[in-house]
């Protein structure tokens, strides 16, 4: 399994999870914490997040995810973190129970 394939797959999972409202932006930032973002995002993306928030007057999870898209997450954030987000959402949705 190539790294690129894994990145694209995680991007798809994150995008689908958000689209299908399995989890929301706030759920994502509960796992992709400021520390995670600050540690893993490149400077230009951090700058972009801050600039967008300054322009809008507030930094909300939705606004952060406008910049930190699923594709960006899959490319820069640890996949363990993304999977924790997905798994926690699945747990909440009650779809991880026994067969």
């Amino acid at each position: 399994m190539s790294i690129e394939a894994r990145q694209r797959w995680f991007a798809t999972m994150m995008e689908s999870g958000l689209t299908q409202q399995i989890f929301g932006p706030a759920d994502v930032l509960r796992h992709a914490t400021p520390e995670v973002l600050a540690t893993n995002l490149p400077p230009e993306l951090l700058s972009k997040v801050l600039a967008a928030s300054l322009a809008a007057g507030a930094m909300t999870p939705e606004r952060v995810l406008e910049t930190v898209t699923p594709d960006v997450m899959a490319r820069h954030l640890p996949h363990d973190v993304l999977w924790e987000c997905i798994a926690a959402a699945a747990e909440r949705a009650g779809i991880t129970g026994g067969r």
Partner: protein, 294 residues
């Protein structure tokens, strides 16, 4: 037939992510059918889908997971298969993608057989119980035990035995049964150390070989002087502590044992040796020895 767009919520999520996994090579059709087994499909797939599947399988020269998944399609699978099963499939793929699928089995099963046999004999704790089927090697094997299986071999055996219980060997004692007569590894070690201690005590340092300049005559006639005729005086314990390494009998016998006499009267020893050498054939035909000479 459902498509991804007709699904919503978690089922759409699964349909999208599993289809993408297949597309990217993250998953194979076999990975899906490991969870969506024929039994699962038989319970949850509509008859209409089964009809298509059977027709496709009959028409195809070969039936495999790819054919099944391509015929049923991922959206249809995700529409009918219970969510926990889909989740299990997705979770397994994710674990593998994250590199967590290669974790070794729990160590508890593996660690137990590696425990020393002696421990099992002395204190048969319940946790050591799985050792019993492997332990009977000890009673059969006296000291030293024949080549003991390596840890890896024991691990493999343990895994095999845990996976499929094999009948225990005939003389297998119970876990709590004492092994009084069995020479355990600890006993073997003890015996070995006892054997080592049974070795004769060191005799002390052998007398230093005669060196040039100390009054001992030397000739170049041979590498060894005639020692067979020399009487071996009884060695007296000199009471000195062995210096460096303990001397052995081999060390002691290499040189002629002069006892302590050479220390007391070295000149007399030299004279005796001169007399002995005068009877030597080469000494008789050669020059007379002028005295203490090397």
């Amino acid at each position: 037939m459902a498509s991804t767009s007709t699904l919503s919520g978690p089922r759409a999520f699964f349909a999208t992510t599993l289809a993408r996994a297949l597309e990217l090579g993250v998953a194979t059709p076999d990975d899906l059918l490991v969870h969506a087994t024929p039994d699962v499909l038989s319970l949850h797939l509509p008859r209409g889908e089964w009809q298509k599947l059977l027709a496709a399988c009959l028409a195809a020269p070969r039936t495999d997971a790819r054919l099944v998944v391509e015929t049923i399609t991922v959206p249809v699978l995700c529409e009918h298969v219970p969510l926990p099963i889909l989740w299990a499939c997705l979770a397994q793929l994710a674990q593998r993608a994250l590199g967590r699928g290669l974790v070794a089995p729990p160590p508890a099963v593996i660690a137990a057989p590696v425990a020393p046999v002696g421990v099992a004999a002395v204190a048969p704790a319940p946790s050591v119980a799985p050792v019993a089927p492997v332990a009977p090697v000890a009673p059969v094997a006296p000291v030293p035990a024949p080549r003991a299986s390596t840890a890896d071999e024991r691990t493999v055996e343990a895994v095999r035995s845990s996976a499929a219980p094999v009948p225990a060997p005939a003389p297998a004692p119970g876990p709590a049964a004492p092994l009084p007569a069995a020479p355990t590894r600890a006993a073997a070690t003890d015996g070995a150390s006892r054997a080592r201690t049974a070795e004769p005590a060191p005799l002390g340092d052998p007398p230093a070989p005669p060196r040039p300049g100390n009054g001992t005559p030397r000739t170049t006639l041979g590498a060894r002087r005639p020692q067979a005729a020399a009487a071996m005086p009884a060695r007296k314990p000199d009471g000195r502590a062995p210096a460096g390494r303990a001397s052995t009998a081999t060390d002691f016998e290499i040189e002629t044992d002069l006892g302590d006499t050479w220390k007391k009267e070295p000149e007399q020893v030299d004279d005796d040796q001169l007399i002995d050498w005068s009877q030597n054939e080469e000494t008789q035909t050669g020059e007379p020895l002028p005295g203490p000479k090397r």
